[in-house]
Symmetry: C2
């Protein structure tokens, strides 16, 4: 079978220009709709007032309508007495002014002296407090120019001016097709080897948010004729057709050939990462865009190409997301010739906004929702160096980002409960976490990428935790250690322990497949200590070289049967419902600079760790001892 | 009848605090909804992954699945040959890896040598290009904490993790009642003396935009029992009840008494302008808010009180609108003891953002949609002085505001066509206008509030326009004059000219009611010149002292019959379909500093003025001559 190669590769900017230039004069149809339903729509011609408002003389105040002449010479010393029916009438704001009167005095400025009489102590000019005909809007006045986005105010202004119907552009119609034989819809029964198609839902919602109407054509199997049939239909019935997946150079990637057959391919492949396998094509004068199947690639390409296209079709400007300058504290290598988009967390440390990149390469949505921003790295650069100030497109509101606390280090399930409790309390800060292992966390703290490190590093000689590692790294800095939890480490094994494992010694048995944790993680330190203590050789452990990044990751491998055992915490084993053989009780601490204890957010954080709701939430997990939680030790 | 006075007046900040503190623990009910429909909803508990993704070993690339061991020692000089079926299988991204293989080589990195055989020139490590089980998300992992607003990414992350239903807070229910016997709904037949209720539509849409569901109870007449019945029902069925109008101190303003009868009134009256007559009350533990009836007051109070309340009920932070610092070029007086909110236009002049306040006191929605921002003036200040830098909450995107061109001066209907043409062309700038009359426009240009002034000021001695006024004001500055149009001035009279007016002389007839234009307007200058020329006394003209601000305003007074004649342009008379007696052809010019001609936006503006589409649009109006349009004169 023939395989596609990228023949029409372009840089991001060039590909965007090719697409937008080609369709910049694309004309949408127009329609007349009710004004009250016109929010977020775009006027297709100027709107003029149909009537004046008010169209009668109206009182601008609650008060009395009078003949202004009657109040001449009124003063506190010589008040003028007016008689109801003859000289005045009560009027409320908006009331029509009876023809015989020509001014209004505010209710606060008169004195009622009898049921029929009032006293006035100041003269009023003619037309005082009277809204003139057309004061708000005058018949035939321009209300809204053409190509204007209608919002609440515009709707009010049109209704005020008697405009109850408005001519607008039809929303661009977007047809979305998801291709892939391995795909199933999220709500169906999912078998092994199948992937949930949530891309089409995300793209559908995004396209709607940007002002289009979407027809979702659902999932189409990897079959040339079926895909072709769907593209033809979507192209006929929509302004813009999206086909998800099938745009890279894979075996069953038919999209390119089909689009070459049906129309003209303008771009195939853009020099960015993620998001490289994009196709821009024209079929019957309408755009057809092939979007890659990896969720993060799909979202990025959709934002970079489809968003500006929808905005442009609507005649609106495309606003780039807000960007901030942030400092990077370590080298971030990048691939030459590719513009990279890296997810970062942001936090403010010593009045500087710091960006710490997340692990790259993963296609995880979960990592995306935990990111605060996207950092572009230009194709011309070799990467970003420590100390560089760089742009970050933010994904969360600026003022929220400024209140982020950042924890980097070992992951623990109690940290999730802490994050949740902070939200529950509606605290004025968030706690973000990057799970990279205990040692990496301490190194990040040293670099100034975070305020907090999470670690459970055993010091074999003394049996204590973390202290000697902190002393090694932070020689000239006073540090503080807050205990989060004590927890049980042990062997996570399959349900009912089919291999009858009893302890570390059994890991060298020939029929036991182990899965390890990464270097620098506290659990790895513990394993290596235990092996040394028992004079065991790591080369005799099958799977020692296979690394997982978290307790939960290791637990799931055991549950799925790709490993027989892993070292990890009881809570992880319990969460996925596998067995657990306890080996050691250990401390999990939060480490920070002593001076950071002054931060009011840290004070609140310690209060929360000590609070009953947090402790109750952690107790629902298994294997935790909270007797020292919130205790602070200072290392000077 | 008793009249209400403001007994529980409070400052803005105090009133907001009273409201938000009282309801800060208000608990909404929760509900389970489909994940795909959960956009913009708030989680009522933490969401954990239901399954790992992927839950099988999946290829991360399009390529071939191989046994890694077979590629050991492969090099360009000594390639390894692999056989399909035995040593490798083709896989696409996302495909499940057959059990016998443990690495994937990218399609670009292999060489196909026959149908069954490929060549590999580099060894690959075990697990290379294979997505591990749980790489994206691990079963039981925290996906979203409680009280988190769900967006597209979160929906993707939940679906990826097998979460197809999510528990969220119910949207706060808001019941909206509009009170007022003079009100009618926008789409009904409207009689004189009736006002269109568009407030409830604007508040309904706003409340929906802020994350609530609305029941609109429609219009209720000014009747104590009817209003009371509606408030009781709305209070029972909603979390929050809004009653529009009836919150000031007018004759038929029952809301206060009803709320005192049904519950507790916490605030009545806030020290701001507009927006003073607000009521905050509690009925059966739920908030009931009385909103004033003036549209701008209603919108302001709704934004200041109801928006933060809805956000708070949803457990979300209330983000103030974006503010910018802008310079003010003239004194803006303010009332002591009241915090004022003034609509302003914004434009950038010589790298400074300049705010020019709009005419105050008007309740016009039309003026609001033409404003770029709202400038608060603190109650402690006597106002803002020329040269002050002050905060402005912006109503339009920042980058759009930076591209505003500001024209202050006389209004002409051709200006509306110019504004519309700019939008039609999708130019990168907007033209904003404040209609204040010719002289005021020149003074604003002198002060540096705008780049452009619009004027048609007759110089009686020479019969020329604008030049001598410009020379007087701008002695040391080179100026430029761009002709926009030549146009006909004359008497606008009722249809069929019932008073048989033939010219200016007839204005002093006893049975003729005139309506004038404001001092400083070009039309007023023309009138005074004509009177002097004909030796007429203004005291003999009935209505000389009644002033309208625009041609259209004067035309509408004639059409409505409140005046028999006004001086104005033919286009205005034609727009409202009244008769016109021509008197003089005059020039309407755009005046600017000569150096401003260098601004690329001005160059485009002149091109547009000269363009056929603009000229065609103006020709549809009546009484214009475009032979000099776009001509530039320099005054040195």
């Amino acid at each position: 079978m023939e395989r596609n190669v990228y023949l029409k590769k372009a840089s991001l900017e060039k590909a965007q220009k090719i697409l937008l230039d080609r369709f910049k004069d694309y004309e949408l149809k127009t329609e007349k709709i009710k004004t009250k339903n016109s929010q977020d729509r775009i006027t297709s011609k100027a709107v003029y007032a149909k009537k004046s408002a008010p169209d009668f003389y109206a009182s601008a105040m609650d008060g009395v309508a009078v003949k202004a002449q009657k109040t001449n010479y009124a003063s506190e010393r010589e008040p003028v007495i007016l008689t109801k029916g003859k000289d005045f009438e009560y009027v409320d704001t908006g009331d029509s002014i009876p023809q015989e009167f020509n001014a209004v005095i505010k209710i606060e400025e008169i004195e009622q002296i009898s049921e029929k009489e009032i006293e006035v102590i100041k003269s009023v000019p003619v037309w005082h407090n009277i809204r003139s005909i057309g004061e708000s809007v005058i018949k035939q006045q321009l209300i809204i120019p053409v190509k204007t986005e209608i919002d609440v105010f515009e709707i009010g202004a049109m209704l005020e001016a008697g405009v109850t119907e408005v001519e607008v552009y039809q929303k661009p119609k977007v047809g979305i097709i998801a291709s892939g034989s391995e795909l199933v819809s999220p709500e169906s029964e999912i078998k092994k080897g199948q992937l949930v198609d949530f891309n089409s839902t995300m793209l559908e919602l995004s396209a709607q948010n940007w002002g289009s109407q979407v027809i979702n054509y659902g999932i189409v199997k990897d079959d040339y004729e079926k895909i072709k049939k769907n593209i033809i239909e979507a192209n006929k019935n929509n302004d813009l057709t999206i086909i998800i997946a099938g745009s890279s150079a894979g075996r069953e990637d038919y999209t390119l050939s089909i689009l070459q057959e049906l129309g003209e391919v303008l771009v195939h492949g853009i020099e960015i990462m993620p998001g490289k396998p994009l196709i821009v094509a024209v079929v019957n004068g309408k755009p057809v865009i092939g979007i890659p199947g990896y969720p993060l690639s799909a979202l990025l390409d959709f934002n970079l190409f489809v968003k500006p296209l929808i905005k442009s079709m609507n005649g609106l400007e495309y606003d780039l997301p807000t960007k901030l300058k942030a400092k990077v504290k370590k080298k971030i290598p990048s691939t030459a010739g590719l513009k990279e988009f890296v997810r970062v967390n942001l936090t403010e440390i010593e009045n500087e906004l710091i960006a710490s990149p997340q692990k790259r390469g993963s296609a995880s949505m979960h990592s995306l929702i935990n990111a605060d921003g996207i950092m572009p790295i230009k194709e011309s650069k070799e990467g970003i160096f420590s100390g560089d100030l760089t742009d970050v497109y933010i994904l969360k509101p600026k003022n929220k980002i400024k209140n982020n606390l950042m924890l980097i280090g070992s992951h623990d399930l109690a940290i999730d409960k802490l994050i949740d409790q902070i939200r529950k309390n509606e605290e004025k800060f968030e706690l973000n976490i990057q799970a990279v292992g205990s040692m990496s966390g301490l190194v990040s703290l040293k670099r100034g990428e975070c305020q907090l490190a999470g670690a459970h590093l055993l010091e074999p000689k003394t049996g204590s935790y973390n202290i000697s590692y902190i002393n090694d790294l932070f020689r000239n800095e006073k540090m503080a250690v807050i205990n989060l939890v004590l927890r049980e480490q042990g062997l996570m094994v399959k349900n009912n322990n089919p291999k009858n494992l009893t302890g570390i010694e059994d890991l060298s048995k020939e029929n036991v497949k182990f899965i390890n944790r990464q270097r620098g993680s506290g659990t790895r330190v513990l394993l290596d200590y235990l092996l040394k203590d028992k004079n065991m050789d790591k080369d005799n452990i099958r799977g020692y070289e296979r690394e997982e990044l978290t307790h939960m990751g290791a637990a799931v491998q055991v549950e799925e049967g790709t490993a027989d055992a892993a070292l990890g915490i009881r809570a992880a084993a319990s969460a996925v419902d596998i067995d657990f053989i306890p080996i050691k009780k250990e401390k999990y601490d939060i480490i920070l600079k002593k001076k950071t204890l002054e931060d009011p957010r840290i004070k609140r954080l310690i209060e929360i760790i000590k609070s009953q709701p947090f402790k109750n939430a952690v107790k629902e997990l298994k294997g935790y001892d909270l007797k020292n939680s919130g205790e602070i030790n200072i290392i000077e």
